[in-house]
Symmetry: C2
């Protein structure tokens, strides 16, 4: 491999030293770590294509990685494979506000796209919490969401065209800049394919007009039930806020300890609602939201009127994941979805499970689209605690599936949830997905072991699965 690449990729962009390789052993899901055999820091689409071509020729697996902020282990390296890092491809080629388009490299940071578009009155709508550091390539791979997906949709709704290197090393263009390109919507299939269909080397994305006005509301409630009822009533009133978030008592406690966000004292739940649009519309919707929250029993209702106050409200919410470290030595960030109307029932059942198993669960969630982020708290130094936390975490996913939901809302399947896929899909459903994977990647070299539980088609032989953790079969060490 090295010999193949030396003519194409400069020596200093090929990492083989074990201590350098270890830097790339995990992504944002640090519970799984694998040292890759080789890291390639590509800085052009041609270098990406040359690397993938070399992998195809020699039957070497490869895993693409952006900024490495993913939470499902989608960029977990392969022990005998190449880790192909696209962070150095970071040219922002074009911002065309008049067509609401930007053309960017995969290594461009999410927030940079908005920063470049802002002076023209536009921004890039998908806003994962990691947007200060995550890259467009990673957003494309994981179909990233964020707090504002409720109104503006996922990455998939904002990508029009992609230049892609296929697992055979061919450079192709999927989609066009015009809406609704003829042929299959391969941009749609590629976005969210978690690195299993190839590597994106350029994206044409849609820009969204900056709203004339933004108002952020913070409402304290006695319980998540009340906050949930307010959420349903807001949506039922025909209002689509930019974001509706709920945090429960445990999450509020953590956030207070970490960032002193000053949320309403004694709240069993807080609701954060962000309204945006024309000033008149926001004014009108704000009045309705206040009325609905009061009817649902809010005991404290505040509005941020400027950017500083808005940031203050968001600080608690955005720090929530990290803040949980203040109240628990270890925790699992779960990511599931249920139909909005099932939220109260699912939260109640989750509370029961938590009580039964003696495992604390903090809840932070995108209430508007039913996307739950339960934080399962544990202390790994306690005998059996990790296993209990993992069990509860799995039970929460089962709960989501039972209620017509999904095992992931925005973090992806990756290495972490492949084993849950058969709970959600039948064998025939999974085989149908494999048809597409195998069509692009018959040798199974693009991010193997991710997304799908076991290789089933392309003539692959089933591998021996050891123990309860199928992932270990791929040589993954679980820490």
């Amino acid at each position: 491999m090295l010999a193949d690449l030396r003519g194409v990729v400069p020596e200093r962009q090929l990492l083989t030293d074990p201590s350098e390789l270890d830097t790339y052993a995990c992504d944002g899901l640090a519970a799984y770590r694998v040292r890759p055999a080789l890291v390639v820091l590509a800085d052009s689409a041609d270098q990406v294509a040359a690397t993938v071509t070399a992998c195809a020729r020699r039957g070497v697996p490869f895993v693409a990685r952006g900024s490495g902020t993913g939470l499902s282990g989608g960029a977990l390296p392969h022990a005998e494979g190449v880790l192909l890092v696209t962070s150095r491809l970071r040219t922002l080629h074009e911002v065309r506000p008049q067509d609401q388009r930007a053309v960017v490299d995969p290594g461009v940071i999410n927030l940079q796209v908005s920063k470049a578009a802002n002076p023209h009155g536009y921004y890039f709508a998908p806003d994962p919490s990691s947007q200060q550091i995550c890259s467009i390539g990673g957003n494309v791979a994981e179909n990233s969401g964020g707090a504002h997906c409720l109104k503006y949709g996922f990455t998939s709704n904002h990508v029009l065209s992609l230049d892609v290197v296929t697992p055979q090393g061919e450079q192709v263009t999927l989609g066009t800049e015009a809406p609704d390109a003829p042929g299959y919507d391969l941009v749609g299939a590629f976005v969210g394919s978690e690195g299993t269909l190839g590597v994106a080397t350029r994206a044409t994305v849609r820009l969204t007009r900056l709203p004339q006005e933004v108002r952020t509301v913070l409402a304290g409630f006695a319980s998540t039930d009340q906050a949930g009822a307010a959420t349903s009533a807001i949506i039922a009133a025909g209002i689509v806020p930019a974001a509706i978030e709920i945090m429960d008592a445990l999450a509020i406690e953590a956030a207070e300890k970490a960032v002193s966000c000053g949320y309403p004292a004694g709240a069993g739940a807080v609701l954060v609602v962000e309204l945006d649009g024309s000033a008149l519309e926001v004014e009108h919707e704000y009045a309705r939201v206040e009325q609905i929250c009061r009817e649902a029993g809010t005991f404290e209702f505040r509005m941020a009127t400027d950017a500083a106050e808005r940031a203050e409200i968001w600080k608690g919410r955005k720090s929530a994941f990290a803040a949980v470290g203040r109240i628990s030595p270890d925790y699992i960030v779960q990511d599931g979805v249920v139909p909005r109307t099932a939220l109260p029932e699912v939260l109640r059942r989750m509370g029961e499970i938590s009580a039964e198993r003696g495992v604390r669960v903090a809840n932070v969630f995108h209430a508007g689209d039913g996307n739950l982020h339960p934080l399962v708290l544990f202390d790994a130094s306690e005998e059996g605690a990790t296993e209990r936390a993992e069990e509860v975490s799995g039970m929460i996913l089962d709960l989501c599936i039972e209620h017509g939901g999904s095992i992931t809302g925005e973090h992806g399947v990756g290495a972490d949830k492949a084993r849950y896929m058969p709970r959600m899909f039948t064998d025939d459903d999974l085989d149908t997905m494999q048809l597409v994977r195998c069509a692009f990647d018959p040798e199974g070299l693009a991010n193997p072991g991710k997304v799908y539980p076991t290789p089933r088609l392309c003539g692959e032989r089933p591998r021996v699965v050891q123990g309860a953790h199928p992932l270990t079969a791929d040589g993954v060490e679980v820490f």
Copy 2:
């Protein structure tokens, strides 16, 4: 085939009589006609699966058909194949306003979904002009659009899950009711696949909240340039109307002759703008639209304040295609897309081509998303007129591609435009699409000859193409 099916599909649902078969010889693109070998009027998913399984076993091609209103010949039968009609699958299983979902059979008529949802305050947003008769199955196959796509998106944005019979006859479920299902977005790839990946037998669709207020504006301008400038200015002001339509002088003339729609006399172009949303927002946007239109030079500006006046304004626009029959014995409805900012240049060039070739072109278009519907007028009884019209029609598509657009906006590729695909996509791009087609349908039995210009993979041998019209190689008679 008949023997296989007789146990499963009642005899009266199997048509073999030539006069009955001829009823199904074409869809909405009547220029192409093929008598199918057998018509199956399925009335359950199991009957669809049994028919496709029998086709797969015997190597017989099949074409699925809904209401047959498609404009690209996507449901054109195969002379030696089965035409599988899904119109009898027309149960509306469920309307769940609280989750904004409906579950419907493929034969359910588009408008019926809205009618069922209306009492709950919801509707189904995609609105092709044929919505009184076209079916959800056909909408899914063609990724149908409509005048309101600008704000609400195409069918693809409103389908969450599909039950599908694969070309092997397997029944699988793609997607889930929750947003952003894990795995590849095969719902996205299937919607718009024009019958080449299988047959949908059930769809879970998203319902959209009925707007509080709707206002429809009609503005007369001296030229399409002025109307186009007003369109750009409206979008640049951050307003996203539900629809922005332009008709040019020739289209207005036709509509007046057909339905006496009373558009502004002497207009070189009319602009129809529909605003919807909360009453306050619409009020505010209306004021801005009026101001913008006046600045762009409108000489007559009217607003519909009730449903009757609104219907009056839309009457001219919605009748435009048929109305052209009043000013020309024959015409081709073209469907192309360009970036909105390229509209003035493309219209100017289209005018030049029309003058050079002596072929009249009427223009009716979804200006908001750059989707052109040029109507190329001709008289088939005139020597060489058909060929000249087809040439101009093709030149218009080339013009769209040159300006970064697409060969189809919402009518699909079907039988009609397969030959234009290589002008838009490279061989590698097309091969990548074929990977997916061949993964689902290695024998090439699902709607063969549509979408893709020539079979290229799956080990198919290239067929002999006679003359300039590759379609004739598939036994299609061009009338």
